[in-house]
Symmetry: C3
């Protein structure tokens, strides 16, 4: 009997091995031609693709999947793409007239940068959802908002001391592309052509400004927004990788958005770290409790989830705001999610393009209302309820919303001191036509809402409590920062009262 079990065990093992996916998908002639050179010149890329699902299945085969397992959301796919694997040609020659970087390459109209609009040929719904995602607008939302631009310049700009003060000259393009725009995405532009030496002789290629970049809000050469490769790393486009939290970590690790740090330290993160080597990250739909036993970032925010009875728990969404009621990233206060992914449209009561006023007043017209907040909360909670009873979930949420409110109040205390400092003229603020970020004390104030209040709220959201909510960029540091603002104001007030200031050289 043991022997039979053994055979069964092995067969099971075999059946669940990844090799089971149709390894026989034919390669198109054109792609075959690409590979003849590129497997030599860029063997790493070729090999990555060879191990990808894209190389193992044709769109036609993929479309035969019934039910929730269907990954191709296009209603129909052009005839000439249906019966070959999704290779070089299939992506890099799509919609040639739309792409400014299309060039003739050995007789093919190739473009370098594949865009979400290209991917939409098969993954239509995902592209549509993503286009309404805040992330798709990450470039414009940063670059076209004068307040954020000012903050950006006081971070990455070139510091010079001038008249006893630090001024920040605009950062050069390369610096911008490497700092904020690395995550937010660059604006790609074809600036001409150039001839390069290659292993196969001289060839002409387009020159692309802003390249390389895989930022989530990249402006592509066909005018579309975003880069699927931000999360679905080329050229395997592995769903396993996208579902693991390390992908999100690329941009969500710093004190401003410490999602990964907090997650990794939470109970859920602990379970993930300890047990994920036995999880299955590939099935679609993804079964709670069977394929995985604690949520990753993707599970809560994006993935299509079912329970062990194969009932739908959460629909897949690439518009992550679908499940988000609050935007806990304080600007400068946490606030209900913006209605429109283009946040440059927002105006607060002072006319600034910010979702909240300095006094905490919400720019409510531009933010979702209570009903929408409740609806989104309910969607998100559907996932939680698979492992937690309704009182657990409700009481967790009560604490979370309380923390949003209390952390906002703390930022009011912080901002109140900053306003006093500006009013007293100890620093030059926005009302006096100055940047509110270019003096040391202003950065102190920014720390309070940009780092510490954010960290506290991320911790609360993930029920991660503990150190990130308290000692690691949490309440301890927020309190300390407010005390320092007060101490600085105090000191300057005392000095000012002596009324014998002289400017330093």
């Amino acid at each position: 009997m043991k022997k039979i079990s053994l055979i069964l065990f092995l067969i099971l093992n075999f059946l669940t091995a990844p090799a089971a996916v149709g390894v026989e998908a034919p390669i198109s002639e054109a792609t075959q031609e690409c590979l003849e050179c590129h497997a030599m010149t860029h063997p790493g890329i070729a090999e990555a693709w060879r191990t990808s699902r894209h190389s193992m299945i044709t769109p036609k085969q993929a479309m035969t999947v019934k039910g929730l397992g269907l990954k191709v959301s296009a209603k129909s796919i052009p005839e000439d793409l249906q019966n070959t694997s999704v290779g070089c040609r299939e992506c890099h020659t799509l919609r040639p007239k739309e792409h400014a970087d299309t060039f003739d390459h050995n007789g093919y109209d190739i473009h370098v940068v594949v865009s979400p609009e290209d991917c939409a040929t098969c993954h239509t719904q995902e592209m549509e959802q993503y286009s309404r995602n805040l992330m798709a607008h990450a470039y414009g939302n940063l670059v076209n908002n004068p307040v954020y631009q000012d903050l950006k310049q006081t971070i990455e700009g070139e510091p010079k001391r001038k008249n006893g003060k630090i001024v920040f000259n605009p950062a050069d393009t390369a610096t911008q592309e490497e700092s904020c725009l690395y995550c937010h995405g660059t604006k790609l532009e074809k600036t001409g052509f150039e001839t390069r030496d290659t292993a196969l002789g001289e060839m002409e290629f387009p020159k692309i400004k802003g390249w390389p970049n895989q930022g989530v809000g990249r402006i592509n050469l066909d005018g579309s927004r975003g880069a699927c490769s931000s999360c679905h790393t080329r050229h395997t486009f592995s769903i396993e990788m996208a579902r693991k939290p390390y992908t999100c970590k690329e941009c969500h690790i710093g004190p401003d958005v410490p999602a990964f740090k907090v997650y990794e330290t939470s109970k859920h993160g602990n379970i993930f770290s300890a047990m994920n080597k036995e999880w299955d990250f590939k099935p679609v739909p993804w079964t709670i409790g069977k394929d995985f036993t604690a949520p990753t970032c993707a599970a809560c925010h994006i993935s299509l989830l079912v329970n062990t009875n194969q009932e739908l728990v959460l629909e897949r969404t690439h518009q992550v705001s679908n499940r988000l009621s609050w935007r806990i990233f304080g600007l400068i206060y946490a606030h209900p999610h913006p209605k429109d992914p283009d946040t440059t449209l927002i105006r607060n009561k002072d006319g600034l393009p910010l979702p909240t006023g300095f006094n905490g007043e919400m720019a409510s017209n531009y933010l979702i209302d209570d009903n929408e907040r409740k609806a989104r909360t309910q969607i998100m909670q559907a996932g939680c309820l698979n492992c937690h009873d309704s009182s657990w979930v409700r009481d967790h949420w009560l604490r979370y919303e309380n923390t949003i409110s209390k952390s906002n109040e703390a930022i009011m205390a912080s901002t109140d001191i900053m306003l006093k400092i500006w009013k007293a003229g100890y620093a030059c603020g926005i009302d006096s036509g100055c940047s509110p970020f270019d003096e040391a004390i202003e950065k102190n104030w920014a720390n309070s809402w940009l780092f510490y209040a954010n960290t506290i709220r991320f911790t609360s959201a993930m029920a991660g409590g503990g150190d990130y909510g308290v000692f690691a960029d949490g309440r301890y540091q927020l309190s300390e920062q407010i005390q320092q603002l007060s101490d600085w104001y105090d000191l300057r007030s005392r000095m000012r009262s002596q009324e014998d200031f002289e400017k330093p050289r």
Copy 2:
């Protein structure tokens, strides 16, 4: 011959597969009844339990294990629990009269919160040991110590500026539960009943204040202390998870107790990270060099260890102080471990409930003596000696105890400046009836002992040296902090000497 080796290899593989644990353990009728609904309403929990050892073995079977592999430490187990798996009913209906949250649920007396006293039905010794563990007292030790309460309030309290100074109003309950008490544990209280809509109609449930929580010192509804689920995460209670360092990380990651960060960066942590996928985290006892090749947190502090000759190296303990001679968590200096896990009993020379005086004097009456320290050191070192010779271990310990002493001296230098500041009246200290934590400069001082000296000692303890001992919250930052205290004192002294202070508006 190759074929025979192959068969042998596979059989071995099969025999060591986890499925070998008696999968046939019968489920009690009551548990079966629970599962009929709960596998539908909370499939994640049901599935977690189904993959747990608790579902695969009966207590009677578990008690037949001879020698060190025995996991059930109770001398006897009630008849009616012996022959079924340890399921819903077996834990959630134990000792109904002791639990304030017991309620009638479809004819059963159910309680929501399973406590260590419940677990003690089988795991008697573990509960007894844990009750003497400092962690079991984490709630009271924090909440009933006025000095710590003061520190707590200046961290999580509501900051307001008042008369030119930041005051911290007490934090509301939800904030407290989410910050310090997340790790320390909440005090659970049944406040009444409520009716909730469920998938199966309206039902009545107890309302529990302080829930959810899995803090190590949680005060349970039967009056017991602690939560086994802090480390043995429900409902798999996996020993693998408890033995991996990610579990400890949930509360030991911040700059106050950076155990995980330091461990992960140490030689031991490197070996763990690189090689643990091939380790076996499940065997009891746990064999050094065979099951694992470098210690995790559990290996040094808790687990039952044997060597490759199956000789006992370390007895299992859930009272981690058994192996700890020093408490390196400075309050405000590192000190010999407290005798009693209830640290509110301690009084230092100034009558404060602190293990050391501000001048470094130990509250020796309340701390273990040299003999006990030596005995505990010897216990801990028994583990080290499996891979390190006696001179290595001894010389590591010499450095470690030297660092305890030197870091304490540095904190004396830091505290000395703080005392000068208080004495000069530049800040209002404990002698003047003020909080020693509510001013900016006081947080600077607190950083020195709460973060930097602690980090240095954790690094030393784990021979992790390198960056955490120097540049990452280590000696660099400690020195810088002391320099800043001195600089601040200097500045205020100069201003004070001008004797023309005016209070700011």
Copy 3:
């Protein structure tokens, strides 16, 4: 047919199992004798060795490997070492007269500390390369450079307040060994003999000052430099461990050299974290795209790499500077790599042993020239080009070199303020015969180049962009630090202008 595939699958599995390495290597009589006791007294070490390649193959067998897979680089190996596994005797009795710690141990001349010169018996080329590695000189480069010694002392020294200023008395030996020298390496010295109680009675052993230590620049008892065990952890000396980034993390994690943090957050690090459980870390040579799909630290800096066509991509080097054009670790500016691994020889224009002047001028005579920089860049890029086209690689490098230049400019702005502060006498600098690191404001300045500019450059180098380049010890903190320097200078200037300073008590 399925059955045949199954058998094939299993056989494949079997053939690639690590057990395939000649498990039959005979153990020398002497090693057998060692093991008789040491397998009892230090079973962890014995077991580690038993699972190592050293126990499974004889040097003679190892030398039969043809082509790039050859790991033994010695032209010939002493006759008496050829035919047994590489065990206790084979390493710990080599070159007895060279080792100051050689002692008689049961009739054998044993030395405790195995050195690179011992390992060179088989791994000659690796030792030779490593001896030219900056790391091999890490002890002397730190200890024999008066400027670094001064910085070191203001970090790990004993802080005392004296005449209103913090002074740092030299750290004691144990503290030094545990902080900077943990990574840099200690200088080992035999100070005599001692008698110890062992499981087998009293025995005499050498006493070794500076032991234990595995720092990369350890000065050994045979006068050689370095410790192979820094990365090839005893006693498995696993190539898998050395190739994983956790090994490098032991010393490259803090804000001064945040290589691991940045890597882990980069696209490459994401791929590693998500997918490495399926990679093969053991093959020599190591095939890009097949054995691994994203580089680890070792892949870029050390390993022997081939492409999927088995063509050589990068030669193995243990002199990591072979592939490094820039030294991005700012001292105080980033600079071309030093020509000589002994950096104490360097003199900048002010005669200081620093690769750059305070004004940014390079000590060019001591640094590699443009041609050498270009040659090294080309070597490194050979790896990149396997997965990235030449414009991608070139444009990444343009950004990287731009960031070196821009971050250096920012440090000039920072240093300029520091120089003003020194000139004004608000702090006492190197020109006035004082330490440039022992005052609070000087540490502020040091933060700017030692932490923030370094972090920015590491991020740039690894194209990790995002948070470490901006919000996590990146440009945000660099800007803030410069603003604070300016703010401090401003304040002191105003106070000084009142000309009524008095020294504090």
